[in-house]
C-alpha cells in the first residue's frame, strides 16, 4: 500500500504520470488549478498504489512532492 502527495497548483497537465502509473491511479482532474491547467488527480479507493514512484520520476514539474510506501 502506498500513496503520493501531488501539488496540484504546480502541475501543468502534461499527463506523463498517467502514462507512467502501472496501476492507472492517476487521471485528468475535472477542476482547473490556479494556473488554468487541468492537473492530474490521484485516486486510490482500493489501496492499489504500490509506491513505485514512477509518476514522480516522470513528472517534468516535480509536482509529485512525496511518495510513500
Amino acid at each position: 500500500m502506498g500513496r503520493i502527495v501531488l501539488d496540484r497548483d504546480v502541475c501543468k497537465g502534461c499527463y506523463l504520470c498517467i502514462k507512467a502509473c502501472p496501476k492507472a491511479l492517476l487521471k485528468k482532474s475535472s477542476k482547473p488549478n490556479n494556473h488554468g491547467f487541468f492537473p492530474a488527480e490521484f485516486t486510490d479507493d482500493k489501496n492499489e498504489c504500490i509506491g513505485c514512484a514512477q509518476c514522480a520520476m516522470n513528472c517534468p514539474d516535480a509536482a509529485i512532492r512525496e511518495v510513500y510506501r
Binding site: 500500500m1 501543468k12 506523463l16 491547467f37 514512484a53 517534468p60 514539474d61 510513500y68
Partner: protein, 255 residues
C-alpha cells in the same frame, strides 16, 4: 508503517518557493533539473557547486537550482567553467546547456574543453532544435525534421547532417565520460540518473571531462502533446541519436 520512498530534492527548494518550473508542459528540462538536484543532495555538494547558466531555455536553471551561478554568453559556458574551475579547483563546476548552445554555436568550446580534460561536467539537453527562440533547426536537427527554418524538413544537401555530440566528445583524450541518455520513460529516467551520477563522479575524482547528452522532449516546438513527444524520442530520435555510453575511463580501469 509507511516509509517515504521519494521526496522532492532540497536543492530544488528555490523552484518550489518560486511556484515551480516555468517550462512548457511536458518539457524535458524539469526531469533533468530534478535529477541534478537529487544528485547534488546525494553527494552533498550543493553548497560547493558553481553552475554556469547558458543561453536558451537552459538559462532558467539559474532560477530553480539554489546554487552559485555564473552566466555565459551563447556557447561559452565551458570557457567560463574552465576559468572558474582553474581558480576554484575544490568547487564542483557544472555547465547546463542546450544543443543550440553546446553543440551548435559553442561546439568548438565544448571540444576544446574536452581535449583539455577540464575537470568539469557538462549536461547538454538535446531537443533537436533551438527551443527558446521558437523551434529553429540546430546542428542536431534530424534529416527530414520540420522546424521553423526547415519547413520542408531538413535536407542534407541544403543544411548538412545532424551532429552527434556525445560520440564526438568521446573521441577527445581528455574526456573521462561521455554518454547519451533520454527523458522518455521510467527506464530511461533511471538510466539518466545513473549516467549523470557517473559524470559527477569523474569530476569529483579528478579524472577528466564528463559529458552527458540528454534527449529531451520539446512538445511546444515539435507541435506534439507531451505524450507524443516522449514517443517521438523513443521511436524516432533514438534511431538517429542512439543511446549509450561512448566513453568511460573508469570501465577501462576496472577491466
Amino acid at each position: 508503517m509507511e516509509t517515504l520512498v521519494y521526496k522532492r530534492p532540497e536543492s530544488l527548494l528555490k523552484a518550489e518557493k518560486g511556484g515551480g518550473f516555468t517550462f512548457c508542459p511536458g518539457c524535458g528540462h524539469g526531469v533533468i533539473l530534478r535529477t541534478i538536484a537529487e544528485l547534488l543532495d546525494e553527494f552533498n555538494i550543493q553548497k560547493d557547486t558553481i553552475a554556469i547558466a547558458s543561453v536558451g531555455c537552459s538559462v532558467f536553471m539559474e532560477r530553480f537550482l539554489d546554487l552559485d551561478v555564473a552566466g555565459a554568453s551563447h556557447g561559452r559556458s565551458t570557457c567560463v567553467a574552465t576559468g572558474i574551475k582553474r581558480c576554484k579547483p575544490n568547487n564542483f563546476v557544472l555547465t547546463y546547456q542546450g544543443d543550440g548552445d553546446a553543440a551548435t554555436i559553442g561546439f568548438n568550446e565544448t571540444i576544446h574543453t574536452a581535449c583539455r580534460g577540464e575537470h568539469i561536467t557538462t549536461i547538454m539537453i538535446n531537443n533537436t532544435n533551438f527551443g527558446m527562440t521558437g523551434g529553429q533547426a540546430s546542428a542536431t536537427t534530424m534529416l527530414g525534421q520540420v522546424t521553423t527554418t526547415t519547413p520542408y524538413g531538413r535536407k542534407a544537401e541544403e543544411t548538412g547532417y545532424p551532429l552527434h555530440a556525445a560520440e564526438i566528445v568521446a573521441q577527445c583524450e581528455g574526456t573521462a565520460y561521455s554518454a547519451r541518455v533520454a527523458v522518455s520513460d521510467t527506464k530511461n529516467i533511471r538510466a539518466l540518473k545513473k549516467t549523470i551520477k557517473k559524470a559527477f563522479e569523474v569530476q569529483l575524482k579528478g579524472l577528466g571531462y564528463g559529458f552527458v547528452e540528454v534527449l529531451a522532449g520539446c512538445p511546444t516546438n515539435w507541435h506534439m502533446t507531451p505524450t507524443e513527444a516522449v514517443e517521438q524520442i523513443e521511436n524516432v530520435i533514438k534511431t538517429v541519436h542512439p543511446l549509450g555510453v561512448f566513453k568511460d575511463i573508469t570501465e577501462k580501469e576496472s577491466v
